[in-house]
Amino acid sequence: MRAETTFLRLGPFTAALTTAFTGVVEALLRLYPAHFIARQADFADFHVSLLPGKGARRFFRRQARFLIDGHENFTPLPADQALPLVEWGLNYAIAGMAHQYLIVHAAAIEKNGRVAILPGAPGSGKSTLTAGLVHRGWRLLSDELALIRRDDGRVVPLARPVNLKNASIDIIQAFAPGALFSAKVRDTVKGTVALMRAPDESLARVDEAASPAWIVFPQWRADAPAIFTPFSKAAGLVEMGHHAMNYSLHGAAGFERLASLFESCGCFRFAYGKLDEAANAFDALAAAA
């Protein structure tokens, strides 16, 4: 196998991915628009590699290793998990290096020029909600990492595949039958995962930053009615700080950015159990603005 380099556009960034895993490159070609992927580019923000395992292990269990600038920060994974490893690794690279932004572990979606930022811990239903809403008229800005510009607080799109896990995969496939998915990858540390391609409209508008209007902390609970509950801005800021990947790094400027954000946004907790009801509730929120 001969390693080749592919340049992949990730919102405002370009990653140079060098790999001999041809299946991964083919999967990326299905998950990203053709013009986001190139064999040549003048510049790359991140240089990453996906390499086969080394040592004797490679003879009886194929592995994939992910390196950023030549450094291996991850435990090798079975080769059949190479695609999610690339996506997770790219998130890691962005979160660890793109400090020109305040980066929050959050989804971000937009409607009528207004952005809802959805910070959420794993298991909160953030990605499921996001995947559903972007098939109901909301634009995907990000599923995992909300990039907030430090100067004006606008959210910069990082429209990439949405990472869905376990039951969420079937839920979204039923909710949005036209959505494009990677093959399911089983037995990962997160269970079964699949990547959903971002809707074409979100990809086409990847250069359009937008201003936040709402900060919504989602929480999925079986059979919970879809309800927005006003949430303390002071408590919300502290919670959002916990979800920010580089808040501490930005110091007082990071606090001022978050504080300005909360000053200008509505702050809510959002419980939901059914996607249809959640989509209706979000549409009502957008309509009332």
Binding site: S232, K233, A234, V238, S248, F255, F262
Partner: protein, 102 residues
């Protein structure tokens, strides 16, 4: 077992103010403060938010805070107002959010 928090200096005799390194916002009776000295962000509610918010407006003594408190808020904790303010100031001082004016 309850911890005893004491002010490092004589609270009654001092004027207290928010430290220069602290940035804050006050929203709906709650406060959030960033301490540039420690890098910590704090959320204050209830009486702590009131005391902090009062010091954000202007430096004040324990006595004047107690006087204002008796006029404007109901204390949940019971006990003497001055004692509660002293305890709150001690907490804020320990977090390096407030300091005695030199």
């Amino acid at each position: 077992m309850s911890a005893v928090i004491r002010l490092e200096r004589n609270a009654a005799a001092e004027i207290w103010r928010v430290s220069d390194e602290v940035r804050w916002r006050l929203w709906d009776g709650e406060a959030v403060a960033y301490n540039g000295r420690t890098g910590d962000t704090h959320h204050f509610a209830d009486f702590a938010a009131w005391v902090f918010g009062r010091l954000c407006i202007a430096p004040a003594s324990c006595r004047s805070l107690a006087r204002d408190a008796e006029d404007s808020v109901e204390l949940r904790a019971g006990g003497a107002v001055g004692e509660t303010i002293t305890r709150t100031l001690a907490l804020l001082q320990r977090l390096q959010i407030v300091e005695a004016v030199a």
